[in-house]
Amino acid sequence: MQEPTNSTTQFRTMTAIKLAGAITLALTMLLVSASAIGRHFGLPLPGTVEIVEALILVTAAAGILSTTIERAHASAKLITELLPPSTRRFVEVLGLILGIIFCAGLVIGNTWLIYDVWGLQEASHLLGIPIVPLRILFVAALTCTGFMLALHLFKPVPSNDSDDSETRIP
């Protein structure tokens, strides 16, 4: 009975992440379009750039996380496809370890920056959007990405499950 609960939780988490990214993406599209059209009709929307930067960060963080959960990171598969399954698994594990080290570096670096700017009231110039919460959100997303990569170490890729990145746009 444990497994369906786990997969439901996983599905809900995944849906929540994707939904957050999709909503911020749709908002970005609407806001940037409104700003561009408004400017030509004498109705500029001041501060659009600052709001869009915050929205884009959420979109990018959700995108990186969902790409990782779905094992959709791009790679050149020409040589690995010729390898026997055990060697292919070794290559996959090596790729995950590189990813974990890279993510750890990103998490440490971004946490370091939060520590440096903590208490300085870092905010955007025009609208005063606080930056530290965005930094914390980004660190949280990177930590989850690293954690997901670590989980993948124990779960081999189901065959032909991750090969579609080659036919995706772009």
Binding site: V32, A60, L106, G109
Partner: protein, 436 residues
């Protein structure tokens, strides 16, 4: 460590390590970031390296200009979901289908049209292949010509704006994406024309490759054209608006995505489910690209700090190599790398080294960018990687890869002439950007 190895040697070791990791199938973004991170830690120190990682990753993901990536991707995914590729092929086949080889020409034309919304050669080849190959085969076209024209035609999508490759190149080299888009138009159009000439020549030599088909009536032609009229207008506004300075690239992407969604809904081609799927798919592709871009910038910082690129520049300057000689050398490297790496990996690996060299030699970065994308696209149809050929094989499983690659042959010859044209006439790439 630095007492034993010079910074330049460390750069060389980093480059070779990255090449091995990428060829070995490691995720591109992770491999770039890992090598760059470790390289910086050894070259400078751990503290500086992690801070650099923090600064680069946060600025890349919260940069207004980089919003262009998900917005253009969304436009492409919506057009993809609403079946725009069929409309483009139908219009082109009604116009040119009755000529000998006309359906193959229509495939190339359809690829150019769909390339203007998809921005990706793989996606263009895949979607156009699903529509045009069955129709060509039903009309007794040779499988060689049918598959070869779509596999090669797909590569036009990477030059016709908005192009995913040009966006990433613009970000990596910090060049104007708008100017790169403008620069891609004439090379993209001439590439399509070269393919049309290639089809006409091979059909004249061997008429059995492509039997003639009945001419469409004017009513059919107008009907087919009316189906792409609104989408063509959207492309015109999105690209034209960018070129004449109405919109920034990010704004142009947003207007394009919003316009594509509106058109698809008005035409009842987009269900809510398909729209949500387009958003999710965009998110996934954008996530993949963001990791590659962060990794590429970290690797680029490492290569720059090692002094490797400036050493190579000095060596080239001292040897007094000609511009054409340097460009030929760079293109040769891409053709070789293309045998075992895909486009994005090649670009991320080489741009940090080649671009500073190009700058120090005073060669136009825009011209260089167009030639790089062209070289990468040629690698997409040459064996053994030839990704477009594999995509087409995935669609038409009964046609052997050997046949597809044989069908690509004449288009590769056309590509060779086209590269020579781009090399000898830089104005072809530089004229439109100079008007901006």
């Amino acid at each position: 460590m630095m007492e034993f190895i010079s910074p330049e040697m460390l750069g060389v070791i980093g480059f070779i390590t990255l090449l091995v990791l990428l060829a070995g199938g490691m995720p591109i973004g992770f491999a770039l970031g890992f090598v760059g991170f470790v390289g910086l830690a050894v070259l400078i120190d751990f503290e500086a390296a992690v801070i650099k990682l923090g600064v680069i990753s946060f600025s890349m993901t919260s940069h207004y200009e980089l919003g262009v990536i998900p917005l253009y991707l969304l436009m492409a995914h919506v057009c993809f979901a609403s079946g725009a590729s069929r409309d483009f092929f139908n219009a082109a086949s009604r116009l040119w289908g009755h000529h000998r080889g006309g359906l193959a020409i229509a495939s190339v034309g359809g690829c150019a049209g769909f390339g203007a919304v998809s921005g990706s050669s793989l996606a263009t080849a895949a979607t156009m292949g699903l529509v045009s190959i069955p129709e060509m085969r039903a009309k007794n076209y040779s499988p060689k010509l049918a598959t070869g024209s779509v596999a090669a035609g797909g590569t036009v999508g990477s030059l016709i704006p908005p192009s995913g490759m040009l966006i990433v190149l613009g970000i990596l080299t910090e060049q104007s994406i708008g100017k790169l888009f403008a620069a891609g138009i004439l090379p993209g159009v001439t590439q399509a024309l070269f393919y049309v000439v290639a089809i006409a020549i091979i059909c004249r030599i061997n008429p059995t490759l492509a039997p003639t088909v009945a001419k469409a009536s004017w009513k059919e032609k107008i009907q087919a054209l009316s189906k792409i009229g609104d989408l063509s207008l959207l492309i015109f506004i999105v690209i034209g608006g960018l070129l004449i300075g109405w919109f920034t690239p990010t704004e142009s992407g947003a207007i394009g995505a919003l316009g594509a969604i509106t058109l698809a809904m008005v035409r009842k081609r987009l269900t809510m489910r398909a729209f949500i799927d387009s958003l999710y798919e965009t998110l996934r592709t954008a996530g993949m690209l963001y990791v590659i871009i962060i990794g590429a910038f970290i690797f680029s910082t490492f290569i720059s700090a090692s002094g490797l690129a400036s050493d190579i520049s000095d060596w080239i300057l001292n040897g007094q190599q000609s511009t054409i000689g340097v460009m030929l050398g760079i293109l040769l490297v891409y053709f070789i790398l293309g045998m075992f790496l895909d486009g994005m990996a090649m670009m991320a690996l080489t741009i940090p080294i080649f671009y500073p060299i190009i700058q120090s030699l005073g060669i136009s970065g825009i011209w260089f960018g167009i030639l790089v994308v062209r070289a990468i696209e040629i690698a997409l149809i040459t064996p053994p990687v030839g990704m477009n050929a594999f995509v087409i094989h995935g669609i038409s499983k009964d046609i052997p890869l050997k046949t597809i690659f044989a069908g690509i042959g004449p288009f590769l010859i056309a590509d060779l002439f086209h590269v020579v044209l781009l090399l000898s006439l830089p104005i072809l790439s530089l004229w439109l950007p100079s008007l901006m």
